[in-house]
Amino acid sequence: MRKTWVLLLTLLVTVGLLSGCLPGQSKETETKDPAPTTGQTEQKTEGPKKGGTFTSFIINPTSMDPHIYSYGAHIHRMALSEGLVTWKSSKFEVGPASAESWTISPDKLTYTFKLKKGLTWSNGDPLTAKDFEYSLKRAIDPKTWAGAYASYQGAGILNAAQFQRGEVTADKIGVKAIDETTLEIKLDKPNDIFLMRLAEVWGLPVHQATVEKFGKDWTKPENMVTNGPFKLKSWTVNSEIVMVRNDNYKGPNPGNLDQIKLFLNAANILAYENNEVDSVEVTSADIDRIQKNMPDQLIATETGAVQGFWLMFGDNQTLMDKRVRQALAMSVDRAKIAKLVSKDTVAPAASLFPSVVGGDWSTKYAYKYDVAAAKKLLADAGYPDGKGLPEITLLISYNIAATDPFTMAVIDEWKTNLGVKAKVENLEWGLFSQKRFAYQPADFAGMFNFSWTSPYPDAINYIRGNWGLETLWADGTKYQGYLDIQNDKNLDAATKSKKMEEYRLANASPEGKRWIELKAAIDKETDPAKQLPLYQEMAQLRLDAAMYIPLNIAKSFRVVKPHIKGYEMNPFLIGYPMYYRSLYSTK
């Protein structure tokens, strides 16, 4: 009897003690700074009001280092850190940030940045050109984590690629602090979008002393030193991030808010309706209701993410005839499907260039909806009205179930317009990621689903960044030899790359070979004006080859509370704000 009560009591005491572990009571990760005192809310001047809080969601960051790829790097760019230059709007024009001015040499190879005087870090230390030299070299260094994922790749800093391959030492990299406020960056060849690229996460500075003192723990809120308009107050992993105004910020782009609170999981429209957050992404399931109930709070943008299907290789040669692929690409009325089936939650894409890259790329290099021409192509290929064509498999991963009605409508169009049968194979992504690049058996003719966005609006990156033709094989069986080299454990990385390159050159289709030639010609050409026609030829070549069939472009929908102003969506980052500094609250 007594023992039973002892047992129950023990249980109760344990529970009581554990309330010490209750949320909100363990504040170890918070800095001890008092609440910011700059919130002068009674400003009568024009322009954004100071003060207030913005609460929203963000994709869960797995690191808070600007040079390691995760949403943490984007949080740095949007709030915590500031590079030499910044984007002025969602059009990505370049404006001054830590650098107040810059000059470009006549040969377009040397950029000299003048830093604004008196800049400081959040701990009060002076911010100098040396900090930028250290940081840029850190971002490029593959040892920081994995250089390529830190978004630097291809920006073209002198000797950066050679350094990454271990051919030269860090002091040969074309980044040099001339004095306290002057930084010189040399490129290996002219790059018209270099300044726009420099505003990406790899161009953000980190505080050398902090990084060296704390190692990987420098990203903990109590250690972190940054130079942006906001600083990290707390980071509860998998739960929330709180940022407050950085009173030591002396740059040209100060923020307006006192506090930014970002929840890292369970993004939910209910939290918005319960007034817990000021903005949230709207999924296609909620669009109708939101459009009816709060149309004035809904904002939307077309993004840079193009979705479609990607040719798979193997024994089956059906889809190796490009006329079949062209017929598939031309027989889908994307505009109709986007409107009627997807109810405008996606935009139609007949081109691999999204319209947000600007120029006429997205209209010039696009498939025409022409059923008669498609039927003729299919008949010419030996499959009149789809007769004799095996069923085509469209490989998707269940993560993208949201766009599935679109795919089903495409299958229906193929059947009605061409008499082509197709089916969906939906796989768990692990299986998907393995199968999509595997060598396929004779009874499999198919394509896999892709979705990709460039992180910045640049048509060239939609040619060089993805969807190349160098692996469009002359015939599907050539693919096996390529995989054999790729999976050969006995080759070191350099030999492997060289062998893969040789194999591509020897076994690619005529379009693939031309693609490789054009790429090499562009790499030799230093004048951007002379590169342009070559890129245009590549775009035309890719359209004609139809190895990738574009279908739609993702749209981002968000609701934003009426008292929050200055929200400008980033079309290349699923509708997050360009920068948190532009937000302000009228409450």
């Binding site: 009897m1 023992k3 039973t4 047992l7 109760l12 344990t14 529970v15 554990l18 309330s19 572990c21 209750l22 949320p23 909100g24 009571q25 797995t62 690191s63 808070m64 390691i68 593959p142 994995a146 250089g147 390529a148 994922y149 790749q153 291809g154 990454q164 990987k216 990203t219 509860t236 992993v237 998998n238 739960s239 929330e240 929840f263 890292l264 999981n265 369970a266 939910n268 209910l270 939290a271 319960n274 817990e276 992504w429 692990g430 299986l431 990621s433 393995q434 199968k435 992180p455 060089r464 993805n466 190349g468 160098e470 692996t471 790729q486 990385a493 790359s497 893969m500 390159e501 591509r504």
Partner: protein
Amino acid sequence: MLRFLSRRLGFMVIALVFVSLLTFILMHMAPGNFLDAKRISSGDVSGDEQASVDVIAEMEKRYGLDKPLYIQYLTYMKGMATWDMGPSFQFPQMDIQEIIAKAFPVSLTLALFSVALSIIIAVPLGILAAVKQNTVWDYCSMFLSMIGNSIPAYVLAVFLILFFSLKLHWLPTAGWTEPKHVIMPVLALGLGSVGGIARYMRTSMVEALRQDYIAAAWAKGGSFTRVVLGHALRNSLIPLITVVGPQLARLMVGTVFIESMFRVPGLGSYFTLAANTRDFPLLMTSSVFFAFVIMMMNLVVDLMYGFLDPRIRFE
């Protein structure tokens, strides 16, 4: 007792080695790997073939994935034995022991509160049903517990959010920074298991009340408190503990749905993330840790048997 303990702990070590081996083998047989996942999420599916090959080689070297499998396995095991597993793939700046040290107390809090809640409701309910067997009390309490038992926690969670957040505006829909954030996840997890526990309680109580010594106690003129809550309750706790122990262990290692719905930074979210991204070190550690917690809980349950029933001796 000591011999019993050392034998049990010895078996536990062997079992844990088997669990780790099995996890390791299954992990390497599963399609896809972390680097592919990373390539998908960073959009780098084709890009510059050259860069991809270089980067993958660099990453494999960094994570020791270029070493023979048995070396990789032994490295993990050494890490686990010394409680220094190194960084997770997914969270490159956090060591795995740090992740567990942060997330386990969260899951533990949630588990203990919700089990305590369900015991506090279920035990009286079960006793009531047993004592008033085959009366309206019995039917009502068993009907209620049946309902509780058949509503999954995540469905209950949605109702709780709709009611407490959107209707009454008493509680935030999710979070884990203030004490009030605990209420809904605990209710969702706790209420769901009331039914099961109450039914066990009822059955074992009915069983206990039929025993001769209970009849003797009644005959001696024992009060309700003394007979039912004293003699019968204590003897009917053994089946209850058998159920509650493993349930507590299951909740302690994280609850996937409830954690993700209420933004609770517990172990469950890390485990699913580890499985989804093929984060090998985190996946290995979490499986072994899961097994360890379950085994420890079973050991505790066995020890409690002896505490509750002096006839049970550990030899």
